[in-house]
């Protein structure tokens, strides 16, 4: 039960912390959210479009997360931890590759590396790149701004509103859940643990209470003039720097996709040494 409580509380803090990061005032945060969303998508598509055995071609793409973390004043350690937490899916599917694909592919001196390990490494690199891009998008933009960007780019209004309400009500629900759990713990002298019956009753109560509170919150929003339009303090306008951001990074991604920069660099250096 304590695990559940910790789970609820920690995921609440998780969302809260990412959202807090998005309140900072850095050049990254001041960019138009639409531009950031589109650039992230171009990045992901570029990374994902490599062949399955590509490793060196993927490496230069790290510049995007690194630059954004630096400019946006984001905590790299925290982001890395989140990436690790999300890794199991890709890891457990990818780990089959080395076992199933044993054809020798690369010979590094005396050590032979099978194709399976190469494709596995490629999968994990792709994973790190794409996940960091997604996290940086939220940490550098904020959820409301992303929703506004989606709205302005043609997403159905009802879906955007659903996203906003979902986000709001996650906090409401986890709040209620914490209260329920804590109340029970206090009254049961930290009892042996929740049986299935008690658990299901509590889930039911949770649902009812959250429905009730959500209804009151909705009425409160309506009576304060909520009309479905999302409003941010900063009006959305595409400035020169937004266009430059998108075009510059997209051009770089295309360049890095077509030319294998590490190979070029390595050859140049090797040539110099000789």
């Amino acid at each position: 039960m304590a695990a559940l409580m910790g789970n609820i509380e920690s995921s609440l803090l998780n969302i809260g912390y990412l959202e807090t990061l998005s309140y900072q005032q850095t050049p990254l945060h001041r960019l138009d959210p639409r531009v950031k969303l589109l650039t992230t998508l171009v990045f992901i598509i570029a990374v994902v479009s490599f062949g399955k055995y590509e490793i060196t071609g993927l490496i230069p793409f790290i510049i995007y997360p690194v630059a954004l973390i630096a400019v946006g004043n984001l905590p790299p350690g925290y982001l890395f931890k989140k990436i690790l937490l999300a890794a199991p899916f890709a890891f457990f599917i990818g780990i089959f590759n080395p076992f199933l694909d044993r054809a020798l592919m690369v010979q590094l001196g005396p050590v032979g590396i099978s194709g399976g390990w190469v494709s596995f490494a490629s999968i994990m690199i792709r994973f790190t790149l794409t996940v960091s891009a997604a996290l940086i998008l939220i940490a550098g933009t904020g959820f409301n701004a992303v929703c506004l960007a989606l709205d302005k780019m043609g997403t159905p209004r009802s879906f955007v509103i659903q996203l906003l309400f979902l986000y709001r009500y996650i906090f409401v629900l986890t709040d209620e859940a914490l209260r329920l759990v804590r109340a029970r713990a206090l009254r049961s002298f930290q009892g042996r643990g929740m049986g299935f019956k008690v658990f299901s009753y509590m889930i039911g109560q949770l649902l009812l209470r959250t429905l009730d509170r959500a209804h009151r919150i909705h009425l409160a929003m309506l009576s304060r003039g909520f009309d479905g339009k999302i409003r941010l303090l900063r009006p959305l306008q595409i400035h020169g720097r937004d266009a430059a951001f998108f075009l510059g990074w997209s051009a770089l991604f295309v360049l890095m996709r077509w030319y294998n920069i590490p190979h070029l660099l390595g050859n140049a250096v090797a040539g110099l040494i000789r």
Partner: protein
């Protein structure tokens, strides 16, 4: 755990995104909610509820793995297929953005697997048929179980197909299928029970919610439209990509052909329909072997994966270059950070 971007090719991701976007627009159009309707907070709350429920992992006995609730069935039953699909999509979007649970490119696949199958196939075709308008607890349980199991099996099949078409995992179709389906059967049973429990609970305490859940509006003919659209899109995607399948390891068929004739692929005649089709395929496949800049490999015959031309010298240069690139990226990152934190004062 939802599908990650690392295992998706842009073709698969893009195609599933197109399907999902189409379904989302269609659902939104069908929904047409007013803002001050009771539905809005209900959708938001149920979304939060499913979101929280998905975080609770239960262990599946005798397999050593765990599963979690999908929630699509609950949403479909309580909200109707259109709202249910939108809510499921929103839950998965928040999970992808905040928890990196599922990639952004793979979001289209995840929404399709976890939203389309329960809301537009399992719900209308199974649950509604079994449970009907005013169901007894027994019928709710039966309907929820069958619908949940079917919905999850289809979703698992979707994952296998999408991973297989992307070609980044070495798992063969059959092996992956044999891994996924039994586990999702067990998860489906649990989901059916939980769905039945939640629906019965709501039925007892707030029956007006269930009564208000709209069935697909219009005559019977209309209620199959989203199903048909989704299936058609899925079929186009699958069919369109079958032509690319020829470029991976020998499949069962090729292996059998090889065993029978000594060659993996029989040469098609260059004349007539075959010739035209072959020529068209060559021209149309803009992503041969999922590689943008190696079109020549396609013509060379597809015995094995496109082997990047690796020699010892080239790989050393590559490693050296990669190390230098990383160093460069790190230096740039440090410099940027110092510049921006200095200028802030």
């Amino acid at each position: 755990m939802h599908m990650a971007d690392a295992l998706i090719s842009p073709a698969v991701g893009g195609a599933m995104w197109a399907a999902t976007a189409g379904l989302t627009a269609y659902s939104a159009k069908k929904l047409r909610i007013d803002l001050d309707e009771h539905k809005v907070p209900l959708m938001g709350v149920l979304g939060a509820f499913i979101f929280a429920a998905q975080m609770i992992n239960f262990t599946i006995p005798a397999t050593g793995s765990s599963g979690h609730l999908g929630g699509g069935m609950i949403l479909a039953i309580l909200l109707g297929p259109y709202a249910g699909f939108l809510v499921m999509a929103s839950v998965l979007t928040v999970q992808a953005l905040f928890f990196a649970d599922g990639g952004l490119l793979a979001l289209g696949c995840n929404i399709f697997n976890l939203g389309f199958f329960p809301c537009f196939i399992a719900y209308p075709l199974i649950y509604k048929k079994i449970a009907g308008e005013s169901p007894t607890p027994g019928r709710i349980l039966l309907g929820a179980m069958v619908a949940a199991i079917l919905g999850l099996q289809l979703g698992a099949l979707g994952v296998v197909l999408e991973t297989w078409f992307s070609g980044l995992s070495e798992l063969s179709f059959i092996n992956f299928l044999l891994l996924m389906q039994p586990i999702h059967l067990a998860i489906g049973i649990v989901e059916g029970v939980v769905t039945a429990a939640v629906v019965s609970f709501v039925w007892k305490t707030h029956p007006e919610i269930l009564a208000r859940a709209p069935s697909a509006p219009g005559a019977k003919a209309h209620s199959h439209k989203p199903l048909l659209i989704g299936l058609a899109l899925f079929a186009v995607v699958a069919g369109g990509m079958l032509s690319w399948f020829a470029s991976t390891h020998p499949d069962g068929l090729e292996w059998a052909v090889k065993g029978a004739t000594g060659k993996e692929e029989l040469e098609a005649t260059k004349e007539g329909v075959h010739g035209v089709m072959g020529w068209m395929q060559e021209k149309l496949s803009f992503l041969p072997d999922y590689d943008f800049n190696k079109p020549n490999e396609e013509k060379a015959g597809k015995k094995e994966e496109s082997w990047p031309d690796i020699s010892a010298g080239k790989s050393l240069a590559g490693i050296l270059g990669a190390a230098l690139t990383l160093l460069l990226a790190g230096v740039i990152g440090f410099a940027l950070r110092r510049y921006y934190s200095h200028s802030k004062g």
